[in-house]
Point group: D2
Chain length 427, copies 4
């Protein structure tokens, strides 16, 4: 497992052209059941309901993150930078490849619904009774712990952590390029060759040569556009709301002793939060979608309706409300209830700021969230000190709220709503 | 349903940039459960196990076929060609959009295993008790039959049939472009704008202006490359063989009264070939993959092994044999059996020529399989009469055979094989 | 000339794929000597010395502007918008095609050096004794004046002027896409299909449907990047400075009666500003480069040196100075002179703000410089009112200055410069 | 000159994204006047008159050839192949960069008209009193001769020659990609990453790993398409015929003592074939175009007419004749003369087979013209032995002839031609 492959192997990839595998261990890890499972988890959850091309999986994204990391390290080694600890190559490559191993189906929604965290699951898989664990141990007894430490950001070589998780890491670079490619939007076409060429290991961090500033600006602008045009798209948010409601309803029904016509393992364990690693690994989007299809025939009207909506893409509509209107949200909810709607399922308020995605916000202060430029004369500078454009786009668009609701149901009771509430839904 | 939409709607598409929807009926058809189901059927079946980007669905392909057809008709109308019957626009658009409605999960394999035909199912869905049928009937009582007739190639306006099914139809143009895009291969980049501009309605057929010959040559070369590099890729063939074996084994077990730990409707109906339309519509790849995941725990060793292989991408290996060796196939099978292997599951012979895909073969003689060039002076000519390159690539690559087998099992018994058989597997 | 062409003709174009010519007049105009001359004028002047791919001509750009205009008008006509005056189609297409007809070789530099204006020359060519004029007159006696009026922005149908010249016109859209393509930079990949689809004729202006706001934001960001990364690139500025110095020196020498070894008509007329239209049409970049090549052998040391530098790309170096240092510019010039350098040719100060290019600056106030969004409910809004990002990038980067100088000459006298001046040039 | 650059320098390139310069010598060579002159020679001669985007120069192509060669060598070094002589890196890079140094303006036409050869001139420039020669000598006294020997294919290390000149060399790979990019045609999109990865140094040759066969097929098909769609395009041939006629006429006039109104050095030396290296280096397309523009005012009616046609793109028309008609060519010429046309200038016969471009034709027999595949078991095989498709496209399209003539002049005398001749020109 320590050896290089006799002959490099490649995967054809639409984003990076080829993914190059040069180590026996990497090849073996890709072929584990745990890694192959990522083929059955979409990279962008329900986004395919908004952008139909976005059907790509976490499998291809993980290969992409590995490939970018490989290129960065290869450049560090070729240039002989002494700030890069050469012996950390394999731990960095494994962390890059495996960092998403713990993602569940429709990850963000399921995590919210069941208070889970994919990073925890990644570490459980790395350290548990799995094929991946057995392979990593062949390197050394504590190699799985090392990889897990990098992913949990407490590895003792900060540069490895920084390489794998930072605002300019391989993860973000791959998903910008890949998500732009598969959705078909034009934003996100960053000059990755130039960015990679500008990265330097420096005092335990990966920093950017100052002459790479414009490429980084362009990267941050692409990211800004992707967040607001793709990741925070209200139609995608709407389908995620449906998902969360389905999970919530099923959990309630399970807790109340409701007898499901169809139930598949390991869902009960998910409801009671008692999943083992091997059960968790059975959770994929095929299983979730299959259950949802079957639940269209359940007795419970709420669950049935939500599942029909999800399967047939009959999503909730939305209206935008201003932050100042947010106090009126309670008023609307009460009016919905008074009009006979279900106040728990027929109305949701949502703001993208609640999302677990991050936009680059230097004011958050954490140094690991900063992009640093390296000037030969003046040393390190945080990019927003130097770049007007980065300063300009930080913090834009905060405080937008959307109300989501089933248009058909609302229509039926619209004349029962007070005029003040009705105007919100008048177009 | 007869009206145009108040305002054109668009879908962002990575291949055509935008899909333009201008008619209320088309919009409504896209939103039916039957059409949304195509999101859960991959366009290229198991090809994603060879090219990881190929995770795109028949939903996006169907939109693409519709869009190309819309552009062709729009060009015919703009140019005022009298050979194009304007009143057929809507039936042509519907046939283009809905032609793949009857595809099942992993379509080619399931059709072979259960002797079904997706075209039949498309027509059953068009004519049965479905949302799609109800919408089509709003145009006229017999509109569903008309659309079905176009798809079955017996509509009484041959130009509509020819527009929707021919060697240069919207279906083939979309899949070449789309499959090239999502797999990431470079072939398949055809100049679709030029081809579309060269199409002419002419005496009940869609023909190509002679000056478009080179664009057509380029299209046929792209297709040639896509067939041999992507569609007939031995790794994809290998995964399809696994699929067929799983289906075959499950059917055998069902017939023999085996008691499955996990069984999901409507699979029994599939085994007995007694599916209703509404049951058929529940068949999607999520359900199939979920069952396969569960069947990894079945008692039956053959089914269990096949499902584990499929889920974890532990595919059969292959060797190429020459056509002249094909008589030795029986000898090899017997040797396998003698060595203790399962002669029905541990060895498969396969030739791409058996595939339901078509390569352009003018000698097949059917005029509907021909591409005709229109010369103002000399009239119609079949393209291979005029093009050296088309003549050259026709019929190349026939007669290749591959043997597929489980490498791990073979390894265990290799020394029990006669030397003559063993040499086939020696590298 | 009034008729459509029997059959549409096309030009293959790397940016728009095909340029479609449908009118006899457009075809004839493209084939005039005056329009063919644009093949010998580069679109980006000396930018090819910075980005070697930027060798494209104003000929291809002019075709592109025509094509985009054709598409906009065609969409207006298809949608039947009553605010678009259909009878203005041909005058708009001609103005789009011919708007750059008066550009001279290395246009911006030559205009500065000889106080000329390409718009004036465009009009002189349209109205003078030219092939273009004769063709336009075949439409009607005053048709050339109409086309000229559109270009000079005083045509009596403001919507035609607005279509041809506005912050979102076909000219800007083509050059962003084209310059990005030929330089190879990644910025500038705007979603032109979407922008075109969002344009609406409205009360004598071309405005943008509000839902197109993000596409316009993306366009303005692309433009911002192109300006600062490509158009204002200091190396390009450096070569333009050389060009202006050559023109200036040659004019001085001519005025002083210097006898040139090589002189080609119509340069003397350029020096004395007495060019006729037919003389002006002989000015192209081939002639200018040929003269510069020959002037490498002139007696005058200044002219010889400048021409050698230009031909062999031995450009001036530059240092950036802050706005607050600009008063020290005079001090530096005096120090240069004292050290024996030529204060008129060995030092130039430059700020991109002096450039004849425009960045979108809404505060300039002219309504024709504004991009207006059309909201069905609230009417027109200027984009920077609505878009945070547009507001953010407006006005960024003002007030940068660069000093340009011959590094080799400076090196020879560096120790004669006062220390305070020397530090500016110390890296 | 022997050292690597302190920091790698890059050129932004639309085809390869970046050109990487790592050696002081390469950087210095690019900055010589001789290499900068290539900016003033178009890569595709008059092709820009057919495909307006094809305005790119030999400068950018030469950088591209260098870059591909650099990547191949870098792969050889990384993989540690012992068949690659490491000490030859610099001579190979210099030969790749400089191989086109001797190209004149409109190279193929001028070579035919004046019986010159650009390879000879490349060697004269390498070995003569030039900046390039001085730089190369800094490596070693005989380094210029070594570089020249590689270009002339008689260097004593055959693998270096083979790397720089073969049917799969960096030159051909760059021009296919670059010419496709700038013309905008879709052919020519080869998978260069894959091809480069498949190249192996083997017994003094660069061969292809057998698994790269399909990528090579695709490359040869792309080349086939580029030749017949772009390089042999009849409109381009037509403009080259004009060019040759202009050169021929000017040479005749010069020989006859005609007094030119405009004559620029070094044209007389070109006519008499007595150019020195430094005179040759003044020949560029700017000078040729400037002279042609001036010659529109010459007294000689033939020269004047030809130059007007060339400058204003008023090209000869063409008709295709079959090989069997070629005997009738003399008859047509006589008929032209009898009708009062100029038999020497008003009619030209042309067959692309006469062109100095090469299509891959294995039957030519020279082993250096072959592409060899390396099979681990069976050793070397010539590609057309193995590939049906390569065998199929070899030799296609031979024996096409076109007649070129001035349509306007022919029109005037058409009724004086015999009916049999007239039919050739009847459409």
């Amino acid at each position: 497992m320590r050896q290089p492959l006799g002959e490099e192997k490649v995967f054809k990839d639409p984003v990076h052209n080829y993914i190059h595998v040069q180590d026996e261990l990497i090849w073996a890890l890709i072929n584990t059941p745990e890694f192959q499972r990522l083929r059955r988890i979409r990279q962008l959850g329900t986004t395919f309901l908004t952008f139909h091309g976005a059907e790509h999986s976490r499998f291809s994204h993980s290969l992409g993150v590995y490939e970018i990391t490989r290129r960065i390290i290869s450049q560090f080694e070729r240039s002989g930078y002494t700030d890069w600890p050469k012996e950390e190559r394999m731990v960095a490559l494994c962390a890059a490849l495996l960092h998403d191993l713990g993602h569940g189906p429709f990850s963000h929604s399921i995590e919210e619904a069941f208070e889970m965290n994919h990073e925890d699951w990644t570490c459980k898989i790395l350290l548990g009774d799995t094929e991946v664990n057995r392979l990593l141990k062949q390197i050394s007894e504590h190699f799985p712990e090392k990889v897990a430490a990098v992913i949990q950001k407490d590895y003792d070589k900060p540069i490895v952590v920084n390489l794998v998780s930072s605002p300019l890491d391989a993860d973000r670079m791959d998903y910008l390029l890949r998500d732009a490619y598969f959705t078909g939007v034009n934003y996100g076409t960053i000059d990755i060759d130039r960015i990679l060429r500008m990265l330097r290991p420096f005092h335990g961090r990966v920093v950017v040569k100052e002459s790479g500033m414009h490429a980084v600006e362009d990267y941050l602008m692409a990211r800004y556009q992707m967040y607001w045009q793709v990741y925070f798209h209200p139609v995608t948010r709407s389908s995620e709301i449906l998902l969360r409601q389905i999970f919530r309803r099923a959990k309630e029904l399970w807790a109340s002793g409701y007898s499901f016509k169809t139930m598949l393992d390991p869902l009960p364990g998910l409801f009671t939060r008692e999943l083992t690693v091997s059960e968790y690994l059975q959770l994929d989007e095929a299983l979730i979608q299959t259950v949802f299809m079957k639940w269209q025939n359940e007795e419970d009207a709420v669950l049935k309706d939500l599942c029909e909506r999800f399967m047939n893409r009959n999503l909730y509509k939305y209206v935008e409300i201003k932050q100042s209107d947010s106090e009126s949200f309670e008023e609307i909810r009460q009016a919905f209830e008074a009009a006979g709607l279900n106040p728990l399922y027929d109305l949701e308020i949502d703001s993208p700021a609640d999302l677990p995605y991050d936009v680059f916000r230097p004011e958050d202060g954490l140094t690991t969230n900063q992009i640093l430029l390296l000037d030969r004369q003046e040393g390190l500078k945080e990019i927003s000190e130097v770049s007007d454009i980065v300063r300009s786009i930080s913090g834009i668009h905060r405080g937008r709220y959307q109300l989501y609701y089933p248009q058909d149901k609302l229509q039926n009771v619209k004349d029962k709503l007070p005029a003040g509430v009705r105007t919100f839904f008048d177009n």
